[in-house]
Symmetry: C2
Subunit: 579 residues, 2 copies
């Protein structure tokens, strides 16, 4: 049996039996097969020898049980690593930062406690996924829309605590901004409600954000100061009308102008949703896997190959998707403003529920035609000539339209398979099972053409230098800031490619921070580097940690707070290019 670092095996055995008493024998896991679930399946920073070890896993059913678990953990100084549903795709999966931790798996706290249609919020527990909530609202006929990230398998609370982002309008699109009210188990096992007063006293816990006194909720995000066991989340009332739209940039030279135009539209409230903007490689990874046949051993596409694929699928340099909500008249007015601002730079297509259904029908028809070889090229050229788009790109419209109205899916998770040796399944995606190698690194920049271009100009040559396809997606985080999501896909079965992907990650992280663009969240692989240049800030975090969690029992090392002990991670190997 594994034991947590510095914990006597007998002491650990005694803690385990106390936990068994609290939550039941069957919810305390120590077997290898069970514990194998708690790992970071996507990372190149670990291999079989350096894999993070989990000493045990606990799956309580109630907040009271979480309290009792924490009291035992405190008594014996056993590190506990809470996860909600444990997805955290490409940022660390369900693996703890400190090897030997006990995972606290909150999947059984999966109750939707209240749906308040009048004030448009839900109160729920960490085990509730976007899929769960979506089905619950749909099946009960609530006129409320959720805002989901993709894929929709993750926890709403987990995503909010990580400052995740979605698709719809402010404040919903920002999953920290759209929450209101937390119930928190503190490291000592006490239970508090943010805002100061418990819901038995206060009727405003889930409707008024700041409470009275200091606003503490931010403290419990991207950190390890407590365990959130309930959260209120604001939802969007179903609008009278809804239109999604896509924009295809005509020419790369207009890119900065389009970013500046987007900012102005967002500042003026014309576009209020989280615009998603994809570069050519990003779009390609949605449409297909890496074409190994023609690649003769290279690990990234040559310029010629990329150009050919762009032509084949008719992929523009950048495409973006967004949506409008409200009454038909409101949408009409805003559509006109958007056309005026963006029209000169590319092509726009607007979609209603009806036109998406029609498109879907047409695409199915075309596919049937295409399966008859003689008609294939005719159908193709009709489509390409008349609509100016490929079947494959047009097929992305339906899932995009669904995401922007809060229907969770897993369509865009397809890109995780880009470098996988496994063929991408059409449904039941499981990148962990299927050996997908993927890392995300997401700096933030002021939303200006100049800043966003600069971040991309830092990224592009690094991807090239280390032999990877330059994948970038932009996310309009607020009218004033843009998240630049870099995805690094690597072949997990290729040790050399894995090593180069690590080097790229490190170089990218260092170069973007040096240029002034910190990450908006980060991977467990990077956490111990977060504060290396800001000792006063780290000191502040450590003081808070020590005050709330003197034995450092909750998630030591998470977001660089509290020592993560000696990690067995593969060493940082970055050769950061000098300027």
């Amino acid at each position: 049996m594994k034991t947590p670092p510095g914990v006597d095996p007998e002491v650990f055995e005694s803690a385990l039996s106390q936990w068994r008493e609290t939550i039941g024998e069957q919810w305390v896991f120590t077997g290898d097969a069970d514990l194998d679930l708690y790992r970071d399946a996507y990372t190149p920073f670990r291999n079989e020898e350096t894999e993070i070890v989990v000493a045990a896993a606990l799956a309580p059913e109630t907040a009271e049980q979480v309290q009792q678990i924490m009291r035992v953990a405190n008594r014996h100084k056993i590190p506990i690593y809470p996860i909600s549903t444990g997805r955290n795709l490409a940022y660390g999966g369900s693996a703890p930062v400190l090897s030997g931790s006990v995972v606290l798996d909150l999947k059984r706290l999966n109750r939707i406690l209240e749906v308040n249609e009048r004030n448009a919020y839900v109160l729920l527990e960490p085990g509730v996924s976007y899929f769960d909530l979506y089905r619950h609202l749909r099946d009960n006929g609530y006129k409320l829309w959720i805002d989901c990230p993709d894929p929709g398998w993750g926890s709403l609370i987990g995503n909010s605590l990580e400052h995740g982002a979605g698709y719809t309008v402010a404040p919903h699109r920002d999953h920290f901004d759209s929450h209101c009210g937390m119930e928190i188990v503190l490291p000592d096992g006490s239970l508090i409600y943010t805002g100061g007063y418990p819901p038995s006293v206060s009727r405003t816990w889930n409707v008024h954000k700041w409470g009275v006194g200091p606003y503490l909720e931010g403290l419990f995000t991207q950190s390890n100061f407590g365990i959130v066991t309930r959260m209120g989340i604001w939802l969007m009332p179903e609008p009278e009308a809804y239109r999604s739209f896509t924009f295809e940039l005509r020419d790369e030279q207009y890119f900065p102008a389009v970013i500046d135009a987007l900012r102005r539209l967002a500042l003026d409230g014309v576009i209020d949703c989280a615009v998603h903007m994809l570069n050519d490689v990003c779009m390609l990874t949605i449409l297909s896997q890496y074409p190994r046949e023609g690649s003769s051993g290279e690990t990234c596409l040559s310029e010629g190959m990329l150009a050919a694929l762009r032509r084949r699928y008719m992929i523009p340099p950048w495409s973006f998707a967004a949506a409008l909500y409200g009454t038909s008249a409101q949408i009409r007015v805003n559509r006109r403003l958007i056309r005026r601002a963006l029209g000169p730079y590319g092509r726009m297509m607007f979609f209603s529920d009806q036109s998406i259904a029609g498109l879907q029908w047409g695409l199915r028809l075309l596919k049937n035609v295409k399966s008859l070889p003689p008609l294939r090229s005719i159908a193709d050229s009709i489509l390409r000539g008349a609509v100016g788009a490929s079947v494959e790109v047009l097929e992305t419209a339906r899932p995009m339209h669904a995401y922007f109205k809060g229907n969770p899916g897993e369509y865009f998770g397809r890109y995780a398979y880009f470098k996988s040796d496994t063929a991408r399944p059409d449904r039941d995606l499981d990148p962990a099972r299927d050996g997908c190698g993927v890392m995300w690194l997401a700096p933030v920049a002021p939303c200006t053409g100049k800043d966003v271009t600069q971040v991309l100009d830092i990224g592009r040559p690094l991807f090239q230098k280390f032999g990877f396809d330059f994948w970038a997606a932009l996310l309009l985080d607020s009218p004033r800031s843009m998240i630049i999501l870099f995805s690094i896909f690597y072949r997990k079965t290729d040790a050399g490619e894995a090593a180069r992907s690590r080097a790229l990650y490190e170089a990218l992280a260092a170069a973007t921070l040096r240029a002034g663009y910190p990450q908006y969240r980060t991977s467990i692989a990077y956490m111990d580097r977060l504060w290396q240049d800001v000792p006063d800030y780290q000191n502040l975090l450590e003081k808070i940690k020590t005050a709330l969690d003197p034995a450092h029992v909750i998630a030591p090392g998470r977001y660089g707070i509290g020592s993560s002990g000696s990690t067995t991670r593969e060493p940082w190997t970055a050769t950061i290019p000098s300027e």
Copy 2:
């Protein structure tokens, strides 16, 4: 000379001379006349004997000086009470919570360090007032609108840290929500930047709210954990068009329906501003002072007198003001939706810059006519018959229109004079100088007709019981919550009335909390009662306080955090009505 509690006079003298060296002799105040400025001029909780004493006041010019001051304070355990511009009208003025504190007056940190028109924000220091910023933007031709509370004499940073509210659209109308990025001097004198990285490293400090790692900014609001010396504040780009509007409720019976309609309009984003809704007494206090002549010693208006005044000024049971921003087409569409939703319940008037100017001109003309006695009644009846409004009510349109476009003023501060013995001046309002007695108490409720009505139903009989006019203003805090602002005006020269006003405050605070409606901010008089029923929460706050400020040097007792020592306040005397 006064000395802080528990501090040896010699030690204090030594601290003073160190401070003199740091910031210059002339910025260390110990004389009675100077220190007399730092008090709560409006409160009935203090009288001449129990007045809070200030041992000294320091007015540094830079954050570095603040750091040095804190190091000395820490060494000698001297309580420091930071204020920005020290207004905090009706919540405590510039008085410290702990008598004998040294006030740290940040008025000389009054620099506007950056105006970023592209990303629509400013970076400034705590001594900058709304008036200062407004003038700076106007004089330099920036196309940015600010969001001000009223009166506009206060500090933007101070108001944000107290979670103050304004008039325009989200997020600007919520002064905590609209800030981004803080520079903070910690109790030990170290200086940190929220988000983790200093602006010399990060280009996103003032554009991306959450930074990376835990979001700490909430911690430094309504608290005493640090001293904010710089803050980024997001501004609204000047919209293409702007319309303010007023609504007069036809009949009290429609009140809950109107609140529910407002919530739906706000949830749907049709109304995005901070709607201000005033009851009859509130409107009356704007229009006139308490009519002592006819009152034969009563301290509140009889039903008959109030009815007569309502008729005389044509005051509806409730009136509200709001505004629309955007292009003319956007405003037209939203105006139609608002008319459809609210039209059945009362009368609406929309104002453009042009129509406000025209109204202003007309009112001046009418006033001239009115000064000719024979024409007076004719003019009056024309106005009342044709427009259905009094000159006095119509005169409030211009300042209202100005507030909703972010022009700070002091017009609505007029009501502070309601019970003052001093005649209300037309300009240069100074309620502190003019002996105005006023207390604010502001519970929050879910934004539903039922909840808001319930809070009012709690308040009305208490005002009556203690002999005060029932003054209530509602502030649409978010689509899901409403601030109910109760003002208690009392005659400072009447000891009996002052005692009754205290009793009303206490009864109101207790009864609203008991019904589930906590305050959104509070007065220094109430702070030691905040956490009396939530020991675990208080314990959490104390742990953070002790970790960051072990000697409790910053503002002990503020928001009930850290002992405020033995106060000399008049004892709580509430006779809380039993149910």
